[in-house]
Symmetry: C2
Subunit: 646 residues, 2 copies
């Protein structure tokens, strides 16, 4: 195994990643968690992804001068979608080059003082360029108001509530709930009528001692079937404070939604168990976020959750049994209003929980959140949104309408059901290139511990390209592979018990001291996931009478890794045969949508409208889907979009 990697440092965050030679800069940035803007699809035309190379060698690509102009090129600016890494680099990322929902990452890392020009502030746009689609006002459901009230007197004997209400105008609140009403007279008098009123979603929930207006946080949680991702957000500045991910502990009861539903149907205590473990995991995420950020959990006032219908119902403690049989009916589609106490979430006891509205069947809040994040609802062109997860969701926007479906992809792309599979965390092989031998990129630049989704796609695509894997998904024996196959690769084919496995890393190279193998069975698992997504896309296109080339763009979302190579995704048939520049990677869209809802009540309203507007398509009984699935189980004979590199 040849490992020659370069270190790329990104300013102002200071994040560092290691990348293989010839990796494009856009990809290295994504690996560092920085999703760049690519409205032209990475064709090197729009110049939106420009980065400034501060140190290290990075010659300008052919498109660089036409897109950026001589002056910028001279200053070190490069097109991230075109520039290939040839050595260690230090790169500066302009805020305007980031994908809109991500811009705060930079602001935070730069540790700007509050109120600085680049920090978000209430009523100000997050974007430097007004009118851009990603622009949003910072308008969370929580507001805090420090007040020093006039003391009651004979001339002013207003009630406690009225005194407070008048003081925080023009903000208002609903009739005060009985819990706080009982506490309020004592709080006001003990604090000398001085303190911070906390209003959450129109409810006055607390009157804290002193001025705590700067301590106002929320958490956005992407509730995946396999993975939970929580992001702590400062609701005063709009900035990310930290991210924590965890395996959904429900996986021990089965790794897809069907298994979880079965548990609820067959075991009287199943629902309670599943709910308890997932709430426990979310509380662990809260613990870790609180500890890392050094904040008080009482200052977290809202949790926004987005997941598929099964996950959302289980989180809420609502029996998902009806999702386990035809016609797959969810209990709710509009967003329920919950208190943190209803779910035993360990934030402020009067905090709120917003669960995303749902579309229907298995298409739940995560898809709505993804549409919010990608602005698919405002799309005028024909655009496909694909969220790859254990439950794969596909939305087609065409002529101002949206149709959506879900497919049971299984957790292969999230690293589960794959013998050496793992999440895209430190130690995961996230990129594989086969060039004489196998070169790999490992997250954290450590020894490899396993294979994550993007590494899996790379490996399979490369094996297909080299003819080591045949289109049926069978790993060929050393005797069967093309004669051009490099010896080093040929040696990686290990025949045992009538089938062949592929050696990714020798036992001397790994963390565990055991070899890492891509087994024939792993390939079969991956084929199932691949075929499910692929068939879902085909059917939606067919329903609208569209061909792949009618798609202006494909938005690729998923929590399965930092980045997947678009040409590889297309090579294995996961994505339709269209030019790579029409394929956009938009990161964990569900998580981004949840963050947006936390940052603005307008986004929650948008989510409600989206949930009502999208038409749900149930493919479960569709014979067309069965046919499409069967044919998608075969990999394409050749790369359907050859010549277009991403």
């Amino acid at each position: 195994m040849k490992r020659q990697e370069y270190k790329i440092s990104f300013e102002p965050t200071g994040r560092q990643v290691y990348a293989l030679p010839d990796t494009i800069l856009l990809e290295a940035a994504a690996q560092a968690g920085l999703i760049l803007q690519t409205p032209c699809g990475g064709a090197g035309k729009c110049g939106k992804c420009r980065l400034k190379v501060v140190s290290g060698a990075c010659p300008p690509s052919a498109n660089c001068r036409p897109a950026l102009g001589e002056t910028e090129v001279a200053q070190g600016y490069r097109l991230a979608c075109q520039a290939r890494i040839q050595g260690d680099l230090v790169v500066e990322v302009p805020v305007t080059s980031l994908f809109e929902s991500q811009q705060q990452i930079l602001v935070q890392a730069a540790d700007l003082p509050p109120g600085s020009a680049r920090a978000l502030s209430p009523g100000r746009s997050a974007s430097a360029e007004p009118g851009r689609p990603g622009e949003m006002e910072l308008c969370p459901a929580i507001s805090k108001h420090f007040v020093e009230l006039d003391m009651p007197s004979q001339a002013d004997a207003r009630s406690d509530v009225e005194r407070l209400r008048t003081a925080i105008r023009p903000t208002d609140f609903d009739p005060v709930g009985i819990r706080l009403l009982r506490l309020l007279p004592g709080l006001l008098r003990r604090q000398g009528f001085r303190g911070t009123a906390v209003i959450v979603d129109g409810d006055l929930v607390d009157f804290e001692p002193g001025d705590t207006t700067s301590q106002c946080y929320g958490i956005a949680v992407d509730v995946g079937t396999t993975t939970l991702v929580g992001t702590l957000i400062n609701l005063k500045t709009g900035l990310d404070m930290g991210v924590e991910a965890k395996i959904n502990p429900q996986t021990s009861y089965g790794d897809d939604v069907i298994a979880r539903i079965r548990k609820c149907r067959e075991d009287a205590k199943g629902l309670a168990q599943l709910q308890r473990v997932i709430i426990g995991a979310v509380n662990e995420i809260v613990d870790e976020l609180v500890r890392a950020a050094g904040i008080d959990r009482a200052h977290i006032y809202e949790i926004v959750m987005a997941g598929n219908t099964t996950m959302q119902q289980i989180v809420c403690g609502i029996d998902p049994s009806a999702l386990g049989e035809l016609p797959f009916v969810p209990v709710f589609t509009d967003a329920p209003h919950l208190n943190a106490a209803d779910l035993a979430l360990e934030i402020n006891p009067c905090g709120k929980v917003f669960i995303f509205p749902q579309i229907g069947g298995f298409v739940g809040g995560d898809t709505v959140a993804g549409i919010v994040a990608s602005r698919l609802d405002r799309e005028t062109e024909t655009v496909l949104f694909v969220d790859i997860g254990t439950n794969g969701e596909i939305v087609l926007a065409h002529k101002g309408q949206m149709i959506a479906t879900s497919v049971a992809a299984g957790p292969a792309f999230e690293g589960a059901r794959i013998s050496c599979g793992m999440r895209a965390t430190s130690g995961a092989i996230e990129k594989v290139v086969m060039d004489g031998d196998l070169r790999m990129n490992v997250i954290g630049n450590t020894r490899p511990a396993g294979l994550c989704g993007s590494g899996l796609i790379d490996t399979v695509a490369e094996l297909l390209r080299l003819g080591i894997l045949d289109p049926t998904g069978r790993l060929r024996t050393p005797d069967e592979v093309p004669s051009t196959t490099a010896l080093a690769l040929r040696k990686r084919l290990i025949e045992q018990e009538g089938h062949v496995d592929f050696l990714l890393a020798h036992k001397t190279e790994t963390v565990s001291g055991k070899p890492l193998l891509l087994t024939q069975r792993d390939v079969r698992e991956m084929q199932l996931a691949n075929a499910a997504i692929s068939a879902g896309i085909s059917i939606l296109l067919e329903m609208e009478g569209l061909k792949p080339m009618d798609l202006s763009r494909v938005l690729l979302a998923g929590a399965f890794g930092n980045f997947i190579r678009r040409n590889h995704a297309r090579r294995i048939g996961l994505l339709p045969p269209i030019p790579c520049d029409r394929i956009r990677f938009i990161g964990n869209a569900s998580s981004l949508g949840a963050k947006r809802a936390l940052l603005s009540v307008a986004e929650k309203q948008a989510a409600a409208a989206i949930a009502r507007a999208v038409r749900h398509v149930d493919l479960s009984l569709s014979p067309d889907f069965q046919t499409a699935f069967s044919s998608a189980m075969l990999f394409p004979e050749d790369d359907p979009g050859k010549g277009c590199e991403g």
Copy 2:
């Protein structure tokens, strides 16, 4: 004691009362709980109080023919405000003669089938004459909808909530609370998607098996310092189902609000104790109403409560301590939204509790309810509203503005602090006439057991008239009384230990076998209550630069008895010296207002507007009030409105 009484039966209720000769029919009706309309103040001019004498002798009064016309007089119609009782009577009460809020009493008693012309029904006016001030739409916060839903199918896989939401259109509900959301899938499927959706105040709270739409009840509770009155209402028809009254058990901790507040301030468990006993008493009232009406308490979905600020805060479990010291600050003025479970009220566990909004200081929800009931907020003339209770409230409407104050009257008019005092229930002496000897009317036509508020006022007024009581409130000795005093009355004066008591009933005449006495001390207690109300009225009039004769009307409310003689109330100085025809008795206005709020959400909105509009006047530190109070401790020398009989 001479007791010659006539039996008066009222149709269609069948209610019977016993009345002394010469009692006016209006008064006998009030004693039967039937408050008649008297827009002309009982001057015999408007004809609104007309009743039909079905059997018995009742010659027409002088005003009868001009007001009612020859035909009606020939048919037996009489003016209730003029006709004097001279023998047993059976009288029919037309719906239109009843005080607006009372009209349902008749409808109920007549046991009309639902939908009959005289029964209230949703969207129909309670009044036969559209446009009258008392008119209201039946529009409670609760609605029930029986639905037979389409079963889910592949063609119609809407969520459970959406299925239900669409079925009950145009009624809608808020996002479903987590409790019902967890129950709903099971309820729907167990009941075969058939049942009754219950919506309370916009919240879907239940999906009951079968069609229960006709079982929909609420309870209006007048939460007095001394007395609790609960009325069960059928929210489908608007009809009363029963009334239960109880002594407020908090009286064992002190008989006025100051004593209750002191208990909360001085005893850490005081508030919890006071709340527990009053909630216990309300639950007993609920029990009795449920038992008497033979209904299921799960079908009671709302309790509306009206009380003064101290009572309302204690009921809610909110510390009233700040009401115990200057500047007497209540915790809330706008109506809090509560669930029955918050207060451990034993109705439907998802039922709601509406607590009336408050004005300020001690002027609470009972006054707002009284204004709702009397429509004082729509008044264009100068009108005084006086609610006589342990906490006396006075509201002056003048030039479209309202000012309000409260006075600590003490519980004398409710029968407490009076040696033989009792509530206006069976056995209470409710009317006293001194005419050679003492004649009395006892509620239930039983032997006397005690003296209620109206009997107390009668007794004192008569003793004053005859010179047996001097204007300072001292009972004269047999030697000091005027020489014209009848021997029988003179014999009732019992000298002991330097003071004189007045014998109301000899021990042989009473229930207990003990004599009933009005003691000198009882008169002093009554003077305090009387002077407090009287002084409060004087000050409000002074503040607006008004004289008593500027008052177009005085609305007299109170739970202290069925009826008080207006001339007697005026004689003792309780009411200002104005002609009796300007004094209107409006019954337990607080209870009526609470019933209205139960029957219509519009009345709740009106209550909120009233609470904001009324200006609160704090008399506690007013030297003018102290002066007015001192002079009101002296009874008027002579009847200030002599010649005007009510």
